[in-house]
């Protein structure tokens, strides 16, 4: 329907349009599709984590989060484009981080199947291409990491590759 609306295109800044046009005009490279995956890299407390970029639908400044009674400090609701959306502190699921203070000033909205939820992070280091063969196994013992499937190196730091399936399932269960 939007395609027929005469001016809808001008709502996008023109540089975005050009950038995306170039992007979309690229032939699909075999190497990018097969051997690497775009990862969103973020920091919670002092640890760096990454999840596939396509499970994040939106990043914004952290708006007001309203706690949910009887659900502990890690759970609340937040306004995401007019919908009251669940907000979970991922640090509470990933286990005790050093400080365990959810003081993050960035909000990431995740999409898991059809379920949207948000979480606060301390810092976002953007999207990076991760070559699949560059992933090391998680630190031993192997069964100690519930959500980390591997570690990779980004500019000298170790970044944990999280399993979105397991993490988001745990997040959803943490709500009830």
């Amino acid at each position: 329907m939007n395609d027929h609306s005469p001016n809808s295109g001008s709502l996008l800044p023109s540089e975005w349009r050009e950038e995306w046009s170039r992007e979309l005009a690229q032939p699909l490279g075999e190497a990018t599709a097969e051997d690497s995956v775009a990862m969103l890299v973020f920091r919670l407390d002092s640890e760096w984590f990454s999840l596939p970029a396509n499970v994040a639908v939106e990043i914004s400044r952290t708006p007001v989060i309203h706690r949910l009674p009887h659900r502990g400090k890690a759970i609340g609701v937040v306004n995401v484009r007019g919908r009251v959306t669940a907000c979970i502190d991922l640090a509470s699921i990933l286990g005790p981080l050093e400080k365990n203070t959810p003081a993050g000033n960035r909000l990431i909205v995740w999409k898991h199947h059809d379920w949207l939820f948000a979480s606060r992070v301390d810092e976002i280091d953007g999207v990076h291409k991760l070559a699949l063969r560059a992933i090391d196994p998680p630190p031993p013992p192997a069964n100690a990491s519930r959500f980390t499937t591997g570690l990779w190196n980004l500019e000298g730091r170790s970044v944990a590759r999280l399993d979105e399936q397991r993490l988001f399932t745990a997040a959803r269960e943490a709500l009830a």
Partner: protein
Amino acid sequence: MNPPDDLGAFSMEQLFQMEVETQCTALSEALVSLEAGSASPELLTTLMRAAHSIKGAARIVNNDEMVKVAHVMEDSFVLGQKNVLAFNATTVDLMLRGVDLLKKLSGGSADASDADAFVRACTTLNNNPTAAAAAPAVVAAEAPAPEEPHAQKMLRVDATKLDRLLGFAGEGLVAARQLEGFIAELQRMSRSVQDSTMRLQSINGDPVAREARLQECREGLAHLESALRDRHATLDAFSRRWNLQAERLYEEALSCRMRPLSDILPSLRRLVRDLARELGKSATLEIVGADTPVDREILERLEAPLSHLLRNAIDHGLEFPAERAATGKPEQGQIVIEARHVGGQLAITVSDDGHGVDLDALRDRIIARKLAQQETVARMNEGEIVEFLFLPGFSMRDTVTEISGRGVGLDVVQSMARSVRGSVRATVRPNRGLAFELRLPISLSVLGSLLVQIDGEPYAFPLAHVERALKVPLADIESAESRQFFTYEGSRVPLAPASQILGLDEPESPGEALCVLLLSHQTHLYGVIVETFLGEQDLVIQPLDPAFGKVPGISSASLNTDGAPLLVIDVDDFAVAMERLAVEGSTRAIRPEAKAAVLQKRRVLVVEDSLTVRELERKLLRDRGYDVEVAVDGMDGWTALRGGGFDLVLTDVDMPRMDGIELTRLIKSDARLRDLPVMIVSYKDREEDRRRGLEAGADYYLTKGSFQDRTLIDAVIDLIGEP
């Protein structure tokens, strides 16, 4: 992606269902009017067309049974048009069964044999129309088939409404672009202010140059001032226009949710007719305000309680024709449904001209059921007495009939009303029968609410349940047995902090007065202490993410004017929590020092909805030295358990909201609570009840008869040891 007004979004099967529904409604309505003696030629044409439409539609989806059924019905209507077949009560009965059969066939809950039986009966009638009066009932009445839950709810909306909505959306796009230009202008002005500032800073000692610079600045400022005034006027007009526009958009969107009350009337007329006939009574249903708009969701849920009120009126209210004649009333009883909008609410009154309710008999019944003491009952006024009719399981009948008297009726009406934040009241009208008035919100999506702050965050209380908002001086707050209360209009009202009910932190020092919301629950008043009042506001309600499950004390969510989220209070949960606090005493507010000593003892949670049994169990355990907490039903118990720190759970089986079996299952499937022993205490002493409890994971099953001896205490010691 299909736009919502495109019927292509529906499958052929869905379209067929819609069509059948529409046509069956038309058939029912016309049949009932026909029998009531309305002009028949037009009605018969309507009937014939409806049957014909169903036949055609059924053919498209290859439903041969429906084609056959609709076909014979059409034949009957044609014979009716020719005045060969008379449409009396028997014929109408048969045709109404046909309508039911069509609905069942379309939903797959009837098969070819049902269809054949009906077709045979109808064919017999059509071939021998003069024997109509003697035609036997062929298709037996069946229990209504359970409705198939649809994965996604489909709504039919008037296309012109969608067009208007689209128009508003288009204007929104234009306006957004207008603002873009506006922002650019503001940026230019901001630059020009910067220029002037720079000029002022670069002013040096030379008086001529200084004067020239100052002049430039003056001119620049004058120009800016007029530009600003201009922008201000533009923004003002824009804001006014958009407020209006947003309001219209909102009303339009809301009206898409509204349907006239008349949508559910055909089935109600049908009900009155069928029931009166079955009971050998005679009744007409009069409807005032049939075109009153009602929220679709409320309308859907209105049918059951209205049916119940009608059933009640016919079975209990209306007398038999002979009785009526003897008392000088017209033989035909009259039931009136009156709908109107009153003060932002939908009011629906159901009244009859029967004999009403015998208040003395009702008083006796209340005493006989041990619901209140004789002297208390004697003091109660009419209104208070009538309230008892709404208690679960309360019935004026000794015998259960097919129609009513099971005692599961009026409480259903009340719980429906409450579930949509409304109320129901009964009024006794001497010699004129009983009248029930339902008060419901006009729309479920907007909630008039009072915003308050609790533990630093905004919450909304539904206005319909807020009696008053008061500031109560600390000096006026008293306590008895560690229960806080204050006196309001001569009666003592129990008080509790909202933060305690919600499990949040207690506010620091309250100052000299407390902000108290007086909430009404059934006939009781209770007070909830909040941090501050933030004011009244209409909120657009959003459901909470279902992944949250039921959050105790919270019903839904909304957005504040500044876009921040807020939570809407579940007033029913609050009432339950107040009931529990009234028994336990207000633990947190008043006895902080008692806590430490108490924690050492073994703690037992008693989950029981009967106050008597609950108190008995509590007393037994406490006297033995255990620390006891109570919960009034499974849901409440589950909330208490999440707080942790219990050594044993004692639970009843039959309870509202969540029963004991469900609670046991929850406990036993929770990683943290799995090892907590659960003892079921129930009146049910059959082996299968016991097995059901143990299968759910209970560690012990005890029958309530065992209170008298030491069995209960012994079992507790067995499970968790001495206190």
